[in-house]
């Protein structure tokens, strides 16, 4: 099977869904030029300026218009460039998109997708580097997807476009160039299905997005030392694969949640608390979390590195969890 990049997988998913359904369209800044990262390259030439829409720099209205267009029978895909910029459109996403179905008593649906790239990326500093997935996982009504592989970006974006509920699709900027196997079929993914990326018996490591690769590097290093780490990639944060995590931890009896986002108030806390509540008597040690310190992302590379969770950090945390 031919490999595909994470970026190309997203573009392919969108193009296929636009071919399949004439009511799927995309809107955002600079899409005609291909988008910030070229995720939309060639799409305006192919689908026209009415379906790949170049918008003003008006995040509130990009998101709000998508809400209105979704309630009026179309399926907009919103591009926010960076999850940081989507904060200009939080009312539109949180108060409007996420609430409309509920507060109007099921009279309407809001089938929109918002693509919000996350993560640290080459000295982009505090306003272009955040990983805000926990915010949206906290909001009733939203689905949150965090793909780590090209195949998952493809299948989850397809699922997001076909969802009748709003989806926050968070692609990691450091994964755009990642090449890997394409999806096995053109079927959309199922939300809430995690996957075991590496089987192990000593501890369960739960993670998502780019940190999956950090965790796998750590697991490989620990394997050399005879520590067998099971790595779970959640793929979607809401809904999240509770059953897979609990089944794994009930076998390994130890758990560590790792994410790039700030640790305090992060989604790792939700997972750790769930494991503690459900498996308290089976655990051989406290569930641990590893995330970023509660600091904005700095510009200078040595400082930026200081905030990054590395494979070495994960190895250390695993050893602490194992009491070694």
């Amino acid at each position: 099977m031919a490999d595909i990049t994470y970026l190309e997988a997203g573009r392919l998913a969108l193009a296929e869904e636009m071919d399949r359904d004439p009511l799927v369209w995309a809107l955002g800044e600079d899409l005609g030029r291909g988008g910030v990262f070229k995720q939309y390259d060639g799409l305006q030439a192919r689908f026209g300026a009415n379906r790949i829409v170049d918008t003003p720099i008006s995040e509130s209205t990009i998101m709000g218009a998508a809400v209105g267009a979704a309630m009026s029978g179309t399926r907009p895909v919103v591009e926010m460039r960076f999850s940081d910029f989507a904060l200009c459109a939080v009312d539109e996403l949180v108060n409007q998109a996420a609430k409309a179905r509920y507060m109007f008593g099921g009279q309407t649906r809001v089938p929109l997708v918002v693509r919000e790239p996350i993560g640290m990326w080459r000295s982009s500093a505090a306003q272009h580097s955040q990983s805000l997935e926990a915010w949206y996982a906290h909001i009733p009504g939203l689905v949150v997807t965090v793909p780590a592989t090209p195949a998952d970006n493809y299948a989850l974006l397809k699922a997001a476009i076909r969802s009748d509920d709003p989806v926050v699709h968070m692609e990691h900027k450091n994964l755009w160039a990642l090449s890997g196997p394409a999806a096995e079929s053109d079927a959309p993914a199922e939300f809430g299905r995690g996957v075991v990326r590496r089987a192990g018996a000593d501890i369960t490591l739960v993670t998502w997005s780019a940190t999956v690769w950090t965790a796998l590097d750590a697991a490989a290093a620990l394997g050399v030392e005879g520590i067998n780490v099971e790595v779970i990639d959640l793929r979607t944060l809401w809904p999240w694969d509770r059953e897979l995590v609990l089944e794994s931890v009930s076998r390994t009896r130890r758990a560590l949640v790792v994410h790039e986002a700030v640790q305090a108030g992060g989604f790792g806390a939700e997972i750790a608390a769930t494991i503690a509540e459900e498996l308290h008597h089976r655990l051989e040690g406290p569930v641990r979390r590893l995330g970023a310190p509660r600091a904005p992302v700095p510009y200078a590379p040595p400082m930026e590195s200081e905030l990054k969770i590395t494979a070495g950090d994960v190895c250390k945390a695993v050893k602490v969890a194992l009491g070694r």
Binding site: L23, W25, L27, N50, R51, V53, T55, P56, S58, S60, T61, M63, G64, A65, A66, V67, G68, A69, A70, M71, S72, G73, T74, P76, D91, E92, N95, Q96, A100, R101, Y102, M103, F104, G105, G106, Q107, T108, P140, G141, L142, V143, S163, D164, D165, F191, G192, W238, P239, R242, E277
Partner: protein
Amino acid sequence: MTGGQNGATAATASNHDIPRLTALHGLMARIRAFERAAETGQSRGLVLGAVHLSIGQEAVAAGVCAQLRRDDLLLSTHRGHGHTLAKGADARAMMLELLGKAGGTSDGRGGSMHIADFSVGMLGANGVVSANIPIAVGAAQAIRLKGSDQVVACLFGDGAINRGPFMEGLNWAKVFNLPVLFVCEDNGWSATTRTSTLTAGEGAAARARSMDVTAIEIDGNDLVAVDEATREAVARLRAGEGPILIHARTYRLLGHTASDPAGYRPAGEAEERWSGDPMRRNRALLEAAGVPAAELDALEQAATDEMTAALDAAEAAPWAPAALALEDVQDAGAPARFWTREG
């Protein structure tokens, strides 16, 4: 057009479509009666939460919505009962919604501030000032994508023009040449503060013109003016001429909410404004044109009877079921799978 603040002359009245204005008088009376019933309902502890009444502003609701087709779309404000009724929503279902009862327009999950009836193209009142403006332009974009000749009307208050979505939304509608009728229902107040003390420049129409959006300024208490301005605007929207803003000056005769006595207003201001009440003015116009007072009394009484019955029926109706609290949140990741009362 009509004459002075206190009514119209017989000469101008004869130029109007009297049967139409009589029917619209009945609609204004229904809106007034619905809100009086809601006010009564709140005073009796039946209508809960904040209730924002539009008494005194009925001419904007009736005049704008009566020019829309059923399949045209409407976005409203947190003061949206009148707009929703005028678009054709069922008053009984609306009253059930205000009381949180089964059979309400949103099954009791929205209440007064989120009143909506998608079956008549009314896509919702909104609790966030200005938030419906971007939603309206998106609805218009969907209309464009689907190749329909529908139009979208978006009502907002004068307070809304000081939030960013107003400027963004007008810019957007103009650059994409969308069929959106923006209606600034200017009642003079931003919650409990006079809007003129908070607004730089000349307000809604001037801001619209700065973006080359056609702006029409009218007396929003003059039903004829609203009706005629909207008819022309909707025709131009359907012809593809791009967005239009109507700045309709009216007055909120009561407080910000039903429980606000509006003591911040100068003494005598509201009393004086009652003389320009759109129902009183339209009634004077109709009587001058020869419509019998008894016929208008009957219309107004029928409206009161209808809404009193709606309130009584809603009071007698069962609560919306508590189990609905967990429905219609989302398909994937719905609350029942991730939450139990036992923790």
